[in-house]
């Protein structure tokens, strides 16, 4: 990691910490206003026998963005002088919208997308997963544009796997909401 060490020194950081900053700054292809660090999908950056290992996790099983993220991570690290880079996928623990950082939530809101609710996904009690038979959300989602809590879900699924569609009853604007999972 000679070149990597040099890259790290430019930032006054050790090579692994510098690599973590570079990898973490990669934008998500589907939510480009957020970085992979904001989304909580960058799980680990470490050095193993001279190789830099970056571990990422998918938000959903079929998320097609993961491949692009891995390529972007490799490309950016390559430009910073990290030659031996392995990008790995971690499946467990499964990604949760709770992992979106405070900064990530702020950026979502600024882009007109309602972040996951602060309560997060419904906590599981023992036993089977409870059914939800009405379209009403468990916790109200505030409109990202006018702040009204008077909103309604128009579709449980949106343009990407991680989002649902809502409409504000006060300002009547439709908006997207990053689902609580």
């Amino acid at each position: 990691m000679v070149t990597a060490a040099r890259a790290g020194n430019k930032h006054g950081l050790d090579p692994v910490s510098a690599a973590r900053e570079i990898a973490g700054a990669v934008p998500d292809p589907e939510l480009p206003m957020l970085t992979v660090a904001d989304l909580g999908i960058l799980r680990d950056v470490s050095a193993e026998e001279g190789c830099l290992v970056v571990t990422i996790t998918p938000t959903y099983s079929g998320c097609p963005a993961l491949r692009e993220i891995a390529l972007d991570v490799r490309r950016r690290l390559g430009q910073a002088g990290y030659v031996d880079v392995a990008v790995r996928t971690a499946l467990a623990p499964a990604w949760s919208s709770d992992w979106i950082t405070a900064e990530g939530r702020r950026k979502l809101l600024a882009a007109g997308i309602a972040p996951p609710t602060s309560q997060g996904p419904a906590r599981r009690s023992p036993g089977p997963v409870p059914l939800t038979l009405t379209a009403a959300p468990r916790t109200p989602v505030a409109c990202p544009l006018c702040g009204s809590a008077d909103t309604a879900q128009t579709a449980a699924f949106g343009a990407t796997a991680c989002k649902a569609l809502y409409r504000c009853q006060r300002c009547h604007e439709p908006f997207e909401h990053v689902k609580d999972i």
Partner: protein, 307 residues
């Protein structure tokens, strides 16, 4: 072009030098890249591969059936919902097929397993095979399939996987447990979506009620197979979930939905096995051959193609 543009994912999509369009023949990344896929001690690797193939084939074939509805759904919101559901299932299929190819020692990748096996080598249940006659059949089958698969995946995930019931150990294969924990979160959404539509149609107009009831009657003969324990599952104690044990939970969910929808549970005999064999043994319905032909035609016509 700014530095930022140079790094963007969109830019990388447009490059000629990298083969990474998401389609057959693109050398798409192994979905289990970097994951420890060694088979745990004392687990029959052949049986584990066969089990992953069963669960992977269920998702692959059903995902394809759902994709056939694209552009035919009643509203744009339902189009996106179905596309999301089909994509989640395709993601589950990719990981499970990759797991199967690693565990059986052949090293076959997801493409080889999806596109270059013949009908009799597929291990999916027959429920996922027939085309949906109408939208009522679509949401009815999606309800049964997702309620059953969610019950199965919560058991495989165990309580460690957040999705699982407390005090349940989950699969002894950590890769399978992880795939199930992730999939369970998705399946809970699929099941709720289907349940809400079944209620809307069942408790709707006389016509929608009639068609929803008829749809359930068409699906029901294929549901018995979901709860039959297969030799592969018996060979994997602690790794596989016994489908016979899922019946009470799935029945309770379906009972709740059908009651809210004012629908009767059909009384229908299970579709007969053929010489004692069914979907899990590679014996499929007539509709499956046509589905597979469509699914595999490009890959079979251009077996070594890359683009």
């Amino acid at each position: 072009m700014t530095d930022e543009d140079e790094f963007s994912a969109y830019q990388s999509l447009a490059e000629e030098t990298e083969d990474h369009r998401w389609a057959f023949g693109t050398g798409f990344t192994d979905p289990l890249a970097g994951i420890d896929t060694s088979v745990p001690d004392g687990v029959d690797a052949g049986a584990l591969a066969a089990y992953c193939l069963m669960l992977g084939d269920d998702a692959l074939v059903y995902s394809h059936r759902l994709q056939q509805w694209m552009t035919h759904m009643p509203e744009l919101e339902e189009e996106t919902a179905l596309a999301n559901i089909a994509l989640d299932l395709l993601g589950q299929a990719r990981m499970l097929l990759a797991r199967a190819g690693r565990a059986d020692g052949t090293g076959r990748d997801e493409d080889q397993l999806a596109f270059f096996r013949s009908e009799g080598e597929f291990r999916n249940v027959r429920l996922v095979e027939p085309p949906d006659g109408d939208f009522a059949e679509l949401v009815g089958r999606l309800l049964v399939f997702s309620a059953w698969r969610l019950a199965l995946f919560t058991r495989l995930a165990g309580s460690e996987g957040l999705a699982g019931p407390a005090g349940v150990a989950g699969s002894r294969d950590p890769v399978l447990a992880a795939i199930a924990a992730k999939g369970a979160k998705e399946l809970a959404y699929h099941r709720d979506y289907a349940a809400q539509w079944v209620i809307r149609l069942g408790d709707g107009t006389p016509l929608s009620h009639h068609r929803m009831q008829a749809a359930l009657a068409a699906i029901w003969p294929l549901t018995g197979e979901l709860f039959e324990t297969h030799a592969v599952e018996r060979a994997l104690p602690g790794v596989a979930a016994d489908p016979a044990e899922l019946r009470a939970e799935v029945d309770a969910v379906l009972g709740t939905v059908l009651a809210a929808a004012t629908l009767d549970r059909p009384q229908a005999a299970s579709l007969a096995r053929v010489a004692g064999r069914s979907g899990r043994d590679g014996v499929h319905t007539e509709a499956f051959g046509y589905l597979l032909a469509e699914l595999q035609s490009v890959a079979r016509a251009h077996p070594d193609a890359t683009w």
